[in-house]
Symmetry: C2
Subunit: 413 residues, 2 copies
């Protein structure tokens, strides 16, 4: 049996198993006992390990890739060559005449520390899914120059998005006084806060210049709005009132701003630059938005569970910093007394243990996963609603985009 089929079967079993266990636990007591049982299930642990190892590889830029059958697609392999082109162009785009600024700006674009390149992958797949082909080398036939030029414009959106994403990381790391990022020292840790703020500003301005070169002011506006959303989301997180912190609406709005707006507006930009209808542009936007939301919801689960399936094995970094996410919000709905525990501050280990106990006996983790799955389904449905197209590349890219929604909700890191 091929690896992919095996994993698919495991995934299906794990999901069904998981869903059944959670769906039929209605009382807090049942929840606790089932949760304990769930984490000690050897079958489940084995399944998780296999999935975890596979997704680790799927998300890493190097190392062996999983094998796929012909009708299956690995989203990351599908755009691997083009991602290299984008990465090279990114490195050349952030060159400046001032050596220190150049070093700072290219810090996270260097080989080996480019990160998962999740956003460029989505954007390039969306480009093909909307029927903008990568031009074939001249030896394979006549090169369609228009198509090639258009493809380069779409690659620019991937580059711009990545520059903005890295700029936001640089500024976030200054704000959070972070000392590591992508497995190496954060730029502020290595070169200081000043150069990190400046390098972030530089990347934003370079992204804006590149945007202007696309000569489409609607796209400039979309992407600039996404930058504003990144800032708004960050500020909402750091300056919320107690009431806002306990509101699911506020949480989802902040999550959209911080994680989903950039990718959704980038996907929409791809549609606009390729002259699609408003309806298709909206579908592209909906895909990006729902994928982004699903991604963040699972991130919030992983903050509690880590690579294991146990509560409290994650870094717990959000909750320690007073950032209340979906699992706790759902838990508070079931156990309102948890709110006072959270308000007392979870930097106190006793409060933290108590909060995790409440979370464990609640449906918080389960409901967050279910919400993530709903958004993943919506993303998938958006792809299914695109105008029919029989082209093989288009079909393959659409399958890859849908595959990404599964990867996002089933990942363990």
């Amino acid at each position: 049996m091929l690896i992919y089929q095996r994993i698919n079967r495991i995934l299906k079993t794990a999901t069904t198993y998981n869903r059944c266990r959670w769906l039929y636990c209605s009382t807090p007591h049942q929840q606790v006992s089932h949760y304990s049982h769930f984490t000690s299930s050897s079958q489940q642990v084995l399944g998780c390990r296999v999935i975890s190892s596979w997704f680790s590889r799927a998300f890493s830029s190097g190392g062996p890739q999983p094998q796929y059958e012909e009708d299956q697609v690995d989203p990351f392999s599908l755009v691997a060559d083009e991602l290299s082109v984008v990465a090279n162009r990114l490195r050349s785009m952030v060159v400046t005449e001032v050596p220190k600024l150049a070093s700072a700006a290219e810090y996270f674009f260097k080989m080996g520390v480019e990160g998962k390149r999740f956003r460029p992958t989505v954007i390039l797949l969306m480009a093909t899914a909307l029927n903008v082909q990568i031009s074939k080398p001249a030896s394979e036939g006549v090169v369609d120059l228009f198509s090639s030029e258009l493809r380069m414009r779409l690659q620019s959106i991937a580059e711009i998005t990545e520059m903005i994403h890295v700029a936001s990381l640089l500024h976030d790391d200054v704000l959070d006084d972070a000392d590591t990022r992508r497995g190496i020292g954060s730029l502020n840790f290595v070169m200081g806060n000043k150069i990190s703020v400046l390098a972030g500003d530089f990347l934003l301005s370079r992204a804006c210049i590149t945007l202007a070169s696309l000569k489409n002011t609607e796209v400039v506006s979309l992407i600039a709005t996404a930058v504003e959303h990144l800032v708004t989301g960050e500020t909402m997180q750091m300056s919320s009132s107690a009431e806002q912190r306990s509101s699911m609406d506020y949480y989802l709005q902040k999550t959209y701003y911080k994680t989903a707006s950039l990718i959704s507006n980038s996907c929409k930009s791809i549609a606009l630059l390729t002259g699609q209808t408003a309806e298709v542009a909206l579908l592209a936007y909906e895909y990006g938005k729902n994928l982004g939301l699903a991604f963040q919801l699972i991130d919030d689960v992983l903050d509690f569970t880590g690579t294991s399936s146990s509560l409290g094995k994650g870094s717990l970094s959000d909750i320690r910093h007073g950032i209340v996410t979906a699992p706790i919000l759902y838990a508070i709905e079931e156990f309102p007394e948890l709110q006072t525990v959270v308000d007392r501050g979870l930097d106190n280990p006793e409060n933290m243990d108590l909060a995790l106990e409440y979370l464990g006996k609640s449906h918080g983790i389960q409901r967050t996963r279910e919400l993530a799955a709903r958004h993943a389904s919506l993303a998938s449905a958006a792809i299914d609603s695109l105008p029919e197209n029989d082209d093989e590349d288009v079909q393959r890219s659409r399958r890859a985009l849908k595959e990404l929604t599964h990867i996002v909700i089933n990942r363990t890191k």
Copy 2:
């Protein structure tokens, strides 16, 4: 005699007197003695006081304004009403749904702390100088709607430029750990570094969104390049080698990036948005560039002299922070041994006294003022080279732009 004529005569006398004294002092000894004499001359001191007081008023946003004859223009009064419109729009443009971000973003746009509004003044004057009239109220005749819409687009350039300028101030204050700005606590001092970085990013993205709404990608590119120049200039200043710090070319390049690029590209944007020829766009750019350079050169002089005419009475903040500016660079050309004094560090009071002594016996201050005057002349010449136009408003705005070049080089604060 009207005040303006009196001031003009004083200025003329002071300039001639000053130039003669400096031009005919060839030895260091003569320079020192003449410099002392210059500062003790009661006539000169009186002249300086009158000029200082007048320019203080000219630069302040409130208080009594100087009186002008009919053919004379006060640049700031000429656009005062429109500046209020711009200020109100700016305040409404930085509103967001997150109260803390809104407070931070509007911090320097509030009544009384808007600063000199030098850039918006130049931009609005340039708009009229290129024959884009302010539409008259309907009661005075038929309103030219096209003209009115175009004028609002040009006002947007003033608003965008001011947002970018304030964003750069917010980030600069974080970089420099500054605790005051415009006579009040700096934003980082009052609300913290995090919100200052975010508010700067927010203003940049809001500026970019407003830029996109103008639907002219060449203008987006120009202004985004100016933002990049702000960053490049700041980085050049903080990461220069000893060799670069002693290079006049490096200093002028950095000065262009930090001070002149934004205003020159904004002026050029006005020309582009009004459909001027490439030649006129270049003249507008040249005006802004040379005015900006003259402004900064005088700033560098004032860092040594302050509101008095004596060396060492300024804040000396640049030189204390190891930032070598034109006066010292010229002094090093005459006295190469000053370089070693500077390299030893001027945070040591003995080195500082020695450096000021060298500067006093050199032509450093004089040559910097002369260079500023040359750039002011070039700015003025750019205005004279604009296509002829007999319209009274156009003529008046052009005179005001030229008047600004005098104000810039003769200011004492």
